[in-house]
Symmetry: C2
């Protein structure tokens, strides 16, 4: 029986007994609860705020009360008066334990009434950043102990902050003496600690107390670059910005960029320069929006697909263009920002998450970190649809991953009226089961096409085309209303029943929008989507076989595409396996969230590094069963999968077991083989 | 009793029992005997050569024979044929232990008949360099195990060379894939391992087998920069070069350079640039002389006094110009060469030895490492005479160090006819005890001035002045022949006896050379040497007091000055304490030797770092007894020290115990105080 007071820290749930008089900050440190502190217990930085919860917590057998903590001392009172401490908040460096306590560590400590922008993604990320601000008071020089100024600074950091050996960045050597003198022997040091060893690196130095430091979390997509500026001390997103990837001018998709490198002697250099310059502009923008100096940015995390990752690092991506798709580097990469031509603080490091495989990059690793299949028991499927779809499936026992060459059909490319998701694009479609007449919604308007004022609501844009989510819905609705068979053939016999079914050569189309510009869904469009979704589903099915499961417990759609498609329609098309619809969700820019997690906690860096080492990568092209799964998945929703949960919600057309006559319309062997060859060609460039 | 054969490695003396069939290289590794190997036991690099000693070694109870080693196998025979193995040499990676052996590890393995220049300093330095060349064969990429090329390279290095975690230099990321392919998956990696942690850093990479790597050892003096190019694999000096320190144009001595920085806004930058550029030229020169590429230079060690050290690092040395003489950094500094604007291999590191105190720099640390007072039991005094004299005194129990402001008199400055040691300078002097006539020798001639052909032997130069060693000798001879008293007064009464004694105002001079240019030793010259030697001796005496010793066992003179002065005359003057003359020696450029030791062995780096942390630094200006020792040391050889060993060799004039009359000639309090003030002013600038 321990007579010392019991202290429970929330939300971590860590607990322990401590003698009366122990500062709460010390108790937190001993338990491994991360509480920020810059001033090292001098009650001047205000970073170590906590709240005492009042009441009897029967579950924990703790009666917690504000009386069980020491009253504010002179220093804390001075801080509260000068800097304002929110009601209920205490400084854990000054408040001591005087009885049993339940202590809440707020994740949003607002310091100096700083205004922080509210981010759409309000996920709270546990913090344990690689960069620490450490305020120290350094001994003055003494002729009797002729230790250098830097050496006394290191000694002070080791004494007050329990660091082991400290390495020093070269650029600081000339700054140590003037900074110490400017700060009258009191300075704040930024210590960087990460990677395979416990060596701390002195990365930046300011006179006096420096109470804020920032980091970047950046997702370099083939199309878009997205960047968040994040406070390393509070974890809050301070500013966000996005821009098109300027490499688009060298090639629309990944493989055309690899081709550009192979064809042009300085192609790699030009693309590396382009992406770094654009990132530099985004840094400028978020720094301006956040009202901070670039030199206050002390850490940066980047995620990207393998080709973007290599080009950003200045690595020739040619090897990724053909089998065996060899990555130059797969493990996490830690560099100085200046090695990537980024002008931040000279001591700033950058961290790139590991790549999983030649087609499954650091972005997929970031999505995995964000969604955490490896952190839970249920079988989670993560699908990130782009030109290549990245697929991750697993739970805490085992995680497998693959990439499927879906092609750009889901993004509206290679579709006759397809376009990117932008104002004017049809995004929602319903078809009357009897009349076969459609109604639809268009990006930029809240109205359906059969509602009054629809055309006016579109403004000058009008209807311009159909985007990925619209294609998914229209083809699913065409299937549900009998316009296409389960094998994807547009039923020409219906031309008699509806003017929407129109003959085009030897096949038939469905006219979705009869006014100009006419938007029709052709037999080729249907075929394009069938091929894309069959590739995706075949990949998923391979992973399910590897895991030995018939069903998945939950599905996460990552990326912009996933945010707009209706999971039910995705399931009708057989894009994804049968699943309880309430367990299917879109998770938005999960890659960006994963990047923020790695930025804010080096524990998350170790977590994803270890997870990626464990992930089993399936190369779909090498799997003998891929072909069979692909053929089955050409059917809607699938030739062999029962989709029982979907059937409870949706009236699916009855299945025909026989093949469908007609040469073009039959996804026959030669046709399929040619499809795979095209996919393989795309990879090889 | 161990039945396994006993193997003794020389010169290390390490020994152990090993099962028959053990490769000798493995045995050496297990015992911690450093044997170089690049190819990792493939018998292709030839770096692991050893020799078996034949005979019965009674002391070790070993009968060693070439029969106790396996005969050359196919690989070794192929190497011997293709690359020539000197007679008696074997490759220790291939030769296995078959009986008791005494094995010699040669320190000079000459590979591929490479011609190495013989260096004056033939000291053999134990090798354990910070940079290792490691040949590996890397697995080819495999779609089923999508590890990056770099990651497979790291795995191969860890597997074959037992490395732990490996960090990778940023510049190598784009090179890994093409280098692996160029080398057909066989590459040689340079791994750098040093400092506080065991992390290895991949610093350079070549296709195939790379069998040579070089390092620089450089001593940056105020006047001269000296550089050696050293093979990191054989330890041999391949080329050497020297140049004037171009900072001389900003100020002749150290304090005038500090003044220049204080007076000129870009003074620090200009001097940093000047010294780095000169070093870069020297690199070019030694690389050309050695017939190697700059990119083959993979490590570099620099030593310098504190002000040169700071300026080289780009640190403002102003703080070193005044009390408390605060070093910006005192511990050893490890940087990338490119941080110092040195164009070597992009992965090359530089190491600067630690500084001992504000006036006792990394050069003094290098001298200490070279001479090793801390490695032995006897009390060793090391004196490095320059504008400041650095003094180190100690043994394995305790080492103390100080700097004495001797001023430039010993270098010929502030002496009426003084000059640097150069052709034309008088360097040796003898005075006839009866006639008071001198004879002397001049740099550039082997003849004494009273020998036939002397003038002709001087050529056009003639006699131009007197250098430091000449001044020491002439003043010692003046004392021994009674021209000056023990208090340094030129005896004017002798003017009657010899025309060499000449009145100049109220004092007298000694005419050493009566032809033009007339070279005379004035009373002021004598006084200047007295002041300098008194400062030096007082510093030595303080250190002896700290150590609690009355005598020292051995004396080492470091630096160019020490190489030219005759220890006996130095003792007559009382520059150094009484000591058995056979134990007094000049050690030449010991700072350069120390730099080479640190270059060739990281064990030596740790050794000097630990030693410098232990060295007690005495600030002479703060010691109350300095004054008293200084006054006593103004006398020749000393007012209170007996110098018994010297007296056995030299007929010293009888001592007078009374003070000497005459105001100017008496080193009285005001005079002495003014001297110390000047010394203090010099330090404060």
């Amino acid at each position: 029986m321990n007579d010392d007071p019991l202290v429970l820290f929330m939300p971590s749930g860590k607990r322990g007994h401590f003698p009366r008089g122990t500062p709460l900050l010390d108790a937190a440190r001993k338990l491994g609860v991360y509480v920020e502190s810059v001033c090292g217990g001098r009650a001047t930085c205000g970073r170590c705020q906590i709240e005492v919860q009042e009441g009897h917590f029967a579950k924990h057998k703790i009666s917690s009360s504000p009386d069980h903590i020491s009253p504010p001392g002179a220093k804390e009172t001075r801080y509260a008066e000068k800097r304002t401490l929110p009601p209920g908040r205490r400084l854990s460096c000054s408040a001591t334990i005087e009885g049993d306590l339940v202590v809440d560590v707020p994740q949003d400590a607002v310091i100096n009434a700083q205004v922080v922008r509210k981010d759409a993604d309000t996920r709270v990320i546990e913090r344990h950043p690689a960069v620490h601000l450490c305020y120290v008071e350094v001994e003055e020089p003494d002729m009797h102990k002729p230790l250098g100024d830097l050496d006394r600074l290191k000694a002070a950091l080791q004494r007050d902050w329990s660091f082991g050996p400290i390495e020093v960045d070269a650029h600081l050597l000339p700054q140590v003496q003037p900074t110490l003198r400017e700060g009258k022997w009191a300075v704040t040091a930024a210590l960087f600690q990460d990677g395979d060893n416990d060596i701390a690196r002195l990365a930046a130095l300011w006179p006096g107390l420096k109470n804020e430091a920032y980091g970047l979390a950046c997702d370099i997509g083939s199309t878009t670059i997205a960047m968040h500026l994040v406070s390393l001390l509070s974890g809050r997103v301070v500013a966000s910005a996005g821009a098109s990837n300027p490499q688009i001018r060298f090639g629309e998709d990944l493989m055309s960029r690899v081709s550009y490198v192979m064809m042009n002697p300085d192609g790699r250099e030009a693309m590396t320069r382009a992406v770094r310059q654009e990132i530099s502009k985004l840094v400028q923008k978020v720094a301006e929006d956040g009202g901070i100096a670039r030199s206050d940015i002390l850490d940066a995390v980047f995620v990207a697909n393998p080709i973007m990752h290599h080009l950003f690092l200045g690595i020739d991506p040619t090897e990724l263009g053909g089998a065996p798709f060899a990555l130059a580097v797969s493990e996490a990469v830690l560099l100085k920002a200046e090695d990537l031509d980024l002008k931040l603080n000279p001591g700033t490091r950058t961290y790139l998450l590991p790549c999983i495989a030649g087609h499954v990059g650091a972005d997929a690793a970031a999505v995995t970190l964000s969604e955490g299949p490896h952190r839970q028991d249920e079988m989670m499927l993560i699908v990130d649809v782009g030109t290549n779809a990245e697929i991750v499936l697993g739970n805490r026992n085992r995680v497998v991953a693959a990439s499927s060459p879906t092609g750009p059909a889901f993004e509206g490319a290679e579709i006759s009226s397809g376009q990117r998701a932008a104002p004017g694009a049809i995004e929602r479609v319903r078809i009357d089961r009897e009349t076969l007449a459609p109604r639809f919604r268009v990006i930029g308007s809240e109205l359906w096409s059969d509602e009054a004022g629809f055309l006016d609501s579109l403004g000058q844009t009008g209807v311009t085309g159909i985007c990925g989510s619209g294609i998914i819905e229209v083809i699913a609705e065409m299937y549900l209303s009998g316009i296409i068979s389960e094998d994807g053939v547009v039923n020409g016999a219906l031309a008699d029943k509806s003017s929407r079914i129109v003959a085009e050569g030897r096949t038939f189309s469905y006219a979705l929008c009869e006014t100009e510009p006419r938007i029709t869904i052709t037999q080729n469009d249907v075929r394009g989507i069938q091929l894309a979704k069959a590739a995706l589903y075949a990949g998923i099915k391979l992973l399910m076989e590897k895991q030995g499961v018939e069903t998945v417990d939950m599905i996460r759609f990552a990326g912009a595409f996933g945010s707009f498609i209706d999971p039910q329609y995705a399931m009708v098309l057989g894009l994804i396996p049968d699943c309880d619809l309430s367990r299917v969700s879109a998770v938005g820019n999960a890659a960006g969230t994963g990047a923020r997690m790695a930025l804010l906690s080096r524990d998350h860096r170790r977590e994803i590094e270890q997870t990626v080492r464990r992930i089993e990568k399936i190369e779909t092209a090498l799997e003998p069963r891929f072909q069979e799964h692909f053929v089955n998945a050409m059917a809607l929703p699938n030739k062999v999968e029962p989709f029982p949960k979907l059937a409870e919600l949706v009236q699916l057309p009855p299945r025909t077991m026989a093949g469908i006559p007609g040469e073009e319309s039959n996804p026959s062997r030669p046709r399929r083989r040619s499809r795979e060859e095209r996919a393989a060609r795309r990879r090889r460039v």
